[in-house]
């Protein structure tokens, strides 16, 4: 059974290209266009992995990650995408299951490799 990845990204072109890359590698992808939608999708589909943008309307990627960690029994390993990587303080990621922070512009190839490494493939 393919692993299910939730992609939370408000920039449509980026969400599309990430989804395409992951699907091409045989992964199942669910796309959400803002933090709230991502939260609802996560609660509904229980993804194996989360790729989220940091800056999204409504709820930031960190807030989404924190909320899911709080409300779900099992933490979802996460990759955080951001165009503001240097602004994340040392403590911002504490207690969150964030495996890696990738700054934009990023390589979809590297992102896929990181997801596969995290999923143990």
């Amino acid at each position: 059974m393919p692993k299910r990845i939730l992609v939370a990204e408000d920039e449509a072109p980026i969400a599309n290209v990430v989804a395409m890359k992951l699907r091409g590698a045989g992964l199942e992808v669910v796309v959400a266009r803002d933090g709230q939608e991502a939260y609802e999708q996560a609660m509904a589909v229980r993804p194996d992995f989360l790729i989220t943008d940091l800056q999204m309307p409504g709820m930031t990627g960190l807030e989404l990650c924190a909320r899911l960690t709080r409300e779900l029994d099992k933490a979802i390993p996460t990759i955080l995408l951001t165009a503001k990587g240097f602004e994340l303080g040392d403590t911002a990621l504490e207690g969150l299951p964030i495996q890696r922070v990738m700054t934009k512009p990023f390589s979809p190839r590297e992102l896929l490799a990181a997801v596969q490494a995290a999923l143990g493939n």
Binding site: P13, I14, P57, K84, K104, P105, F106, P108
Partner: protein
Amino acid sequence: MIELRRAIAVILLFLGVGVGLHLLMTPLRETDQSATIMAMTLSCGLALAVLGIIGGFLVARLPKERINHVAEYLETMVRRGTLGLVVADNEADALGRLGHAVNRYLAFVKDEIEQTNITAKERQIQIKVLEAERRHVESVIHAISDGVLVTGAFGDLLQANSAAESIFGFRFDAAVRKPVDEVITDKTFLALLHEMRETGLFIPHRTVEWVQNRGGQSLAWRVVLNTVVEGKKRDRLSGVVVVLHDVTKEKEIARMKSDFVSNVTHELKTPLASIKAYIEMLLDGDVHEPAQCREFFQTIGAETDRLNRLIENILNLSRLESGLVPVNKTDLAVTEILRDVGEVMTPQAAQKNIRLEVDLAPVFFRVNGDRDMLYQAVLNVVSNAVKYTPEGGKVRISTYLSDGSVVVEVTDSGYGIPAEELQRVFEKFYRARVSSKVAPGTGLGLPLVKHVVEVIHGGRVTLESQVGKGSTFRILLPAVR
């Protein structure tokens, strides 16, 4: 017997004159004597000298007519209130010679008194000049907008200007000479002063930043502390001079600048991220279908345009804000601007099946403004209205006169903006949540409108909105009468 009496007389005379002159000379050496004390000393000296002379003559039991001559002369001097000479006669005896010597001596005393009087007057003038200088320095200190505070060796308050009074909330008149710990309550600031007193001999100058919480407001101060050191070896600290400069605004500007750079970076990186990702996918052979390839190239093109638009908008706004764009104001008809905007926007509205109503007033309301800038401002508002109104909706542009202002009103039946976001949409790069989902944008259009209308034209921009029903933007410009 007579010789003995004369000898006593001479001794008395010299004693009187000697003591008198000693007193006379004293004020000349003591520079810190006041004019009053000097005058009193002079008088005493003079009286003793005269008494000595008279005593000497009396004791000598001189011939009656010679004594009378001296007495008459002294009476005359008293009546005239002057210091004169001629107590001697032309006798060549010892008394005559003594008289001449006393005369010369009196002339010397007179000169000294005159010189002393001149010196006293000069001192009085100096005192007045110093007093005026002190008042001048005080008024300069009080006129300084920075807070100035001076404490003494034991932490007592010696000087504070009006700015310092309002920073710390005390009255200098009531606080002078009091321990500064009793006058100022802020513990952090007091700690700075204490530290300066303790380490001031080794570190005579320090500049620190101090954040003051005043009535819930946070104020940032740049505090410059200098010690006043005395003694030959400069080993005695006699006070601390503190100057406080308000840097709250500078801090705020620095923060805004940092936010701006951070936002610009984010906005520039976002289209760049798409471009890079799409090119990589094409290069990696992830795209197989020719139609999909074409779609990818189109996305790259669109994101490149977006990047360019963003850079153009940033440059435009930055040039406007820094006053680099020349403002050419003329009396112009707002109706004409609306008509031109209507013509440009009608095709775009038609594409979305939006009805664009341009309600041109029969009267040409005139404002004094820069045509190109006002055109851009109105275009931005109307373009937003069309962009954020769903297909089949309606946008209406109208103009009217209200309270001396020409109002340009743009109403749409669009998605609307929630109340908490109404003011934020005028912030640079801020995009209402709904906006970013519906259409691309830079978040710089409305800040430009606000700057053009409010800063350049002295007008006002207002916004009313209801989620799901639409928004009404109004641009108010002072009407030309």
